[in-house]
Amino acid sequence: MRTFSILCTLLFAFTALPAAAQLTSNQFTNPEYGLEIQPEFPRPGETITATLTDHRGSSFGATVTWLVDGKVISTAENQRKTTLTAGKIGVPQTIEVILSKSGNTSESLKKIITPLYVDIVIEPQTRTPDFYIGRSLPSIGSIVNATALINGSKIPASDLVYTWRIGQQVIEGGPIRGRNQVSYTTPMGDRETLTVQIATTNGTIIARRSVSIPSVSPTIQFYELSPLFGLNSKTIIDSIPLIGNSTVIKAEPYYLDSRVYNQPAISQWKIGGITTSNQSSNPYEITLQRSWSGGSTELEFQVRDTTQVLQGAKGSTRINF
């Protein structure tokens, strides 16, 4: 009986703590009442929605007045929600709502927002040809470098604390001061969300930004390689005529992991379905020589990693001779 009494006491004691925690944040004791801004961290010129949340009913019968930087928004009188435009970069903007009740009593809620630009620059470490002036795209298993650029904050980037997440996983294990650049490995899936949260050293969050990053399958494009002029920047779309006695074709794998491109486990050329031993020192180039006239044959190339089998590409074109 004594043991049973002790157990019961302990049980009540332990369950009391979470119950008390629930009650302290519960709407019955502290009803939700506030000013909500969406988006939470707006960009300059962005449309903002400000909402008065009052579930305790204290605004019943009250006159609602919205003010931005002390100026009344006349169109928003007695509205629970209003839209406005974020101001200039780095300039704080005060959004205020006043609830005036009969008997000259009033309540005021205020929020200060500072419009900032937080840009995330994605730099995938995948292959594109030299002449390609665009950005490469991530593919599964490839490394991606991400840089957060904050514009409009007076605090130097080195004094800000960055928390990076890819999906639900925190990169680098947690927030790091001054770390506006991170690297991560592209996970499985077509898309993943990369989020950066920026805070001051005292923990105040000043900005948050999320971007959806694609993960694509590497593809092969074929180009003619001239010994005099170098790579022709026009792709061989369907087929290429072999006009002279020989030609050099280069396979360019777009978005292939740079590490795989530099050290491919498998790189294979096939002519007419038959694997050919490539004499070129560069595994991505093949010299074709005319052996007979009149005809058409398929030229196929594949490159692949053996540890990450999805990290590879295969393509084909036709040679008319």
Partner: protein, 393 residues
Amino acid sequence: MKRPIFIIIGTLIVLLLVGVWMYILFFSQSSSTPDETYADLGLGDTTDPSYTPPSTDDQTNTPVIDVASNQSLRQLTTRPVAGYQDVTATTSDPSYVYFTERGTGHIFSINLESGEEKRISATTIPLTTHSVITPNGRYTMVQSGSGNATQFTLGTISTTSDTLETQTISESIVSFTKTIENTFLYAVKTNNSVVAKEFNPATKSVKNLFTVPFREAVIVWANSAKGVHFAYPKASAQLEGFIYQIKNGVLERLPIDGYGLSATGNASGILYSKVEKNEYKTYFYNQSTAISYPTLPALIPEKCSSLTEIICGGSYTTYKEIMPDTWYQGAASFADDLFITHPETNLTEPLTGVSKTTSQNIDISSLHISNDGQRIYFINTLDKNLWLFDQGK
């Protein structure tokens, strides 16, 4: 069944089959439509005897060029061009254009009045892909080779011989241009940024201009080191980009962003294109009003250049491809005309019908406007030949 009967029946069947085979071999007519008889299973190689090799007749491929003609639009070269420069002339001198031949790095001058072409540098720089020449025609910067073998060479053009005095640049350059002050601007990649510098070939002095805080940057150079430059991450239809304006070495974020974003412009305005709801669209951002105006047609900013106005190669094409990636890959080409955007009115209008006038598909790139705004030069991406549209004619 007895064994002899079995052998006789077998022999008769064999003789019958041999007879059928002999008949087909000597008396049957082959079908004129073999495809109807045999399905194409697409197994490996096929030999297609119906293929006709393309014509290699030079006369049909090479247009006849009359550089000195009075036509406002004319082809200047039949050699592939790596870079060119409208060389500053005095009032008494004729106008010249200098160009570097792709592949060899040889430099030629063309007298735009007489049409005379002269080789002014016979120094070979193998696999030359890109070059710039200073407006005074004294210095050149040449990019050659590819991948790890990419080289950058500084050349001094001699006025007395056809030998180019060269000097190799050891820095890892990602972008370069020339200025109206006859200096070079170039950008170098570091571990986490791109540093822009100015090099004076006369004094051999180098000055840092600004730093872009990411590596995959495109720099839209002004025509002077002191001018307004722009930088943005390299464009991709699937990745977001942002434009930064650089004045006196300070980066300022402009209210322009989007997927597939690329841009060109000057202190008056910026012409930019981006992908919106799977559609490639172009806008003109007026710097004085800070308002973006939609522009028609959709233009690829890499086909543009600006002096006061912005002049672009483009067409009223509805892009079906993933833009701009497909054009960058060389998997799409266009039949372009010239368009002009006026910063005062924010309007874009046709300037001249290049592909229509020449009846050729001219995919415009590397467009440049002469300092007086009269001559517009461009390269046809398809054959790398240089063209001129002279507004004064």
